[in-house]
């Protein structure tokens, strides 16, 4: 079974057809995807801006990171699950969309970022209260760039044929 026929099978499933062809389901799931970005994206940005010492400087680094962690994870789970449903609805179109592959590459880099920095930076917040290390600032800057790239490439998918 090659990839295209596998994706054709996905498109033939009831769930895929329902999301794609139902008048309401696709916009509602798209709405969830976007609302999750709106409500929890702010926490991601603020965590990284705190590490860069650009925002919330009166708060301890550990206070910001520890209190936002759970909400960021919940938001990430919402964005990913709604995104998976959107992808399930039209896998062939995404397969042929260059912006989609850029987005997936960036998402992979988000995973690499977590492997490189989660332990030393985000789960080591108390140590950063004494002073944010250059490594933590690098992590924050890269995270902001990656997520901005995810937003832009995600939006561009709609403009690929």
């Amino acid at each position: 079974m090659n990839i295209v026929s596998a994706l054709e099978w996905v498109e033939s499933t009831e769930l895929s057809t329902a999301i794609r062809e139902g008048a309401l389901l696709y916009p509602i799931i798209g709405g969830f995807h976007l609302v999750a970005i709106a409500l929890f994206g702010g926490m991601l940005v603020m965590t990284d801006l705190r590490l860069l010492e650009w925002a919330m400087q009166r708060r301890k680094v550990s206070d910001v990171i520890e209190q936002m962690r759970g909400w960021k994870r919940a938001g990430f789970a919402l964005v990913v699950s709604s995104g998976l449903l959107l992808g399930w609805a039209e896998p062939l179109r995404l397969y042929r969309s260059p912006s989609f592959w850029v987005k997936m590459a960036l998402l992979t880099l988000v995973g690499v970022h977590a492997l490189l920095f989660r332990k030393g930076v985000y789960q080591n917040a108390k140590a950063l209260d004494a002073g944010v290390t250059p490594r933590a600032k690098l992590a924050a800057a890269l995270s902001l760039i990656l997520w901005a790239g995810l937003v832009v490439s995600g939006r561009l998918i709609a403009f690929d044929a």
Partner: protein
């Protein structure tokens, strides 16, 4: 906006980043008002920490929003989702600077604070969802 074909998606992306900054920072304070997040700080301390970023995000949205509108004004004008979004936006902004501001300044956790946080979250969710629906109606 009717210029190069990348102009619209770029402006739209900036609109989304403005959204995460403004609504995202408002949501942080709203969740604090509800008493379910960031409880090591008071709501008014958080508001003081974040309001600069809220404004920055709002400015970004109020610049990019009208730009997108100008690209296709007649269509937006007749779009019910657009009207829903603008009504929600008006209500969300009025609420933000009246009751929610008052609730944020009241230090003790109160029913008022919880209601203000919930209403604010609901109104901004309507703004975002209404915006998403513009493309589908």
């Amino acid at each position: 906006m009717n210029g190069p074909e990348w102009a619209f998606p770029v402006v739209e992306s900036l609109h989304f980043i403005g959204m995460a900054l403004s609504i995202g920072t408002i949501a942080i304070v709203d969740l604090r008002l509800l008493g379910i997040a960031m409880c090591r700080q008071t709501a008014s301390d958080l508001e003081a920490d974040l309001h600069r970023w809220t404004w920055f995000g709002l400015a970004l949205m109020l610049i990019t929003g009208p730009l997108m509108f100008s690209a296709d004004a007649p269509n937006y004008h007749h779009n019910p989702a657009f009207h829903f979004k603008m009504t929600s936006l008006f209500l969300a902004l009025v609420f933000n600077f009246t009751l929610r501001r008052y609730a944020t300044r009241t230090e003790t956790p109160s029913l008022l604070a919880r209601v203000a946080g919930a209403v604010s979250l609901a109104l901004w969710t309507c703004v975002v969802a209404g915006g998403r629906m513009i493309a589908f109606v």
